[in-house]
């Protein structure tokens, strides 16, 4: 699943595993550098973007290492919950 574009605002593509709060992000590059699956990369205006949502392991390293409180990793939905449209 391709990432949605960003223009400095929150990227909440609904059920994307990684959500960015771009108004707080300072583009330090730490999340990109330490992602073990390399699914984050510089996108528009050098803000980080999720390039491959399916490869993302939701390890939360980006959220833990972000200095700006600008990254949130969503818990993986249970298959049954996904079918019923629940979100955590």
């Amino acid at each position: 699943m391709r990432a949605q574009g960003n223009d400095g605002h929150r990227q909440d593509g609904g059920d994307l595993p990684v959500q960015f709060r771009y108004e707080w992000c300072k583009k330090c590059g730490i999340c990109i550098a330490f992602c073990p699956r390399k699914v984050l990369a510089k996108g528009q205006k050098d803000y980080p973007e999720l390039t491959d949502a399916e490869r993302c392991a939701r390890c939360k390293l980006c959220e833990l290492m972000c200095p700006d409180f600008a990254v949130t990793v969503a818990e993986r939905q249970r298959p049954q919950a996904a079918a019923e449209g629940e979100t955590k």
Partner: protein
């Protein structure tokens, strides 16, 4: 367990720290530890001195107090003694805690007063542009050490332990989960807890000393940290330049305000009359 966003004064974010500064990582790690404790927010007070680290309390939705340079622990001591049931946390930097604040660190530790102190150590005075601190390594360059720093640095954890702190630990911004665990243990210790958190200052320290960008400085932390158990098996030569992390001292003893309360209780039971 609350999300750490519950603890932020969102209206005043983004914070003032530079892109890549480790302080935000450490602050988030601290908030995760607080979330694990899950105290009522009204019971928490966060006190700081002056410097980059000391700006942290302003972003937190607790009772917050941003004091004078080096004096956070003295203010915090007054709060804790006045209201012993409050959870008192001090956030300080390496300059604030070890230079101007050194004496107050020594005595707060000696009293074993119930304050959890986290020292964000980035080895520099960042807020004022990069002057050397008591934690700047010998040979490093700083704006007030343009020819290379002459002074050896402190082992802050050793200072805290020798002064009487009942819980002492060291972590890094890189090892953020371990840091959360250490801060959690520090919060649960009733007496004086000291946690040194190694941070990176890419702008005022890293750049001048050619340490690379924030990611490179975090990688340095990853490569130089040695857990205390592993460190016990290394020779002094092998430990050169390494940062020993983990719980360095854990020896609970009576907390100061408890001792004071015991005294007050004893006095109220005695027959009264003035002491000699």
């Amino acid at each position: 367990m609350p999300a750490i966003s519950e603890y932020l004064r969102s209206g005043v974010l983004p914070h003032i720290w530079c892109p890549g500064c480790g302080h935000g990582i450490i602050l988030a790690a601290i908030l995760r530890a607080i979330a694990r404790v899950d105290p009522p927010k009204d019971e928490v007070v966060v006190v700081s001195g002056i410097g980059c680290a000391s700006r942290a309390p302003g972003y937190l939705d607790f009772n917050t107090l941003h004091t004078t340079h080096g004096r956070a622990l003295a203010f915090a001591t007054g709060i804790k003694l006045a209201k012993p049931n409050m959870r008192v946390i001090v956030i300080t930097g390496d300059g604030d805690a070890a230079a101007i604040g050194g004496n107050h660190l020594i005595h707060a530790a000696r009293r074993n007063i119930g304050i959890t102190t986290i020292c964000f150590n980035n080895s520099i005075y960042g807020m004022t542009g990069g002057q050397y601190s008591p934690l700047t390594p010998v040979g490093a360059t700083a704006t007030t050490a343009p020819y290379g720093h002459l002074e050896p640095s402190f082992d802050l954890c050793e200072l805290a332990r020798a002064s009487g702190a009942s819980f002492v630990a060291r972590g890094t911004a890189y090892h953020t989960n371990a840091l959360t665990d250490l801060v959690y243990q520090a919060l649960e210790n009733k007496g004086f807890s000291f946690v040194e958190a190694i941070s990176q200052c890419p702008v005022s320290y890293g750049r001048r000393n050619k340490l690379g960008d924030a990611a490179a400085m975090l990688t340095w932390q990853k490569e130089h940290a040695v857990n205390v158990r592993a460190a016990a098996k290394l020779s002094p030569e092998e430990l050169q330049g390494k940062v020993v992390t983990g719980v360095l001292h854990n020896s609970p003893r009576q907390e100061y305000t408890d001792a004071y309360a015991e005294l007050a209780a004893r006095l109220s039971q005695s027959k009264g009359g003035r002491p000699a």
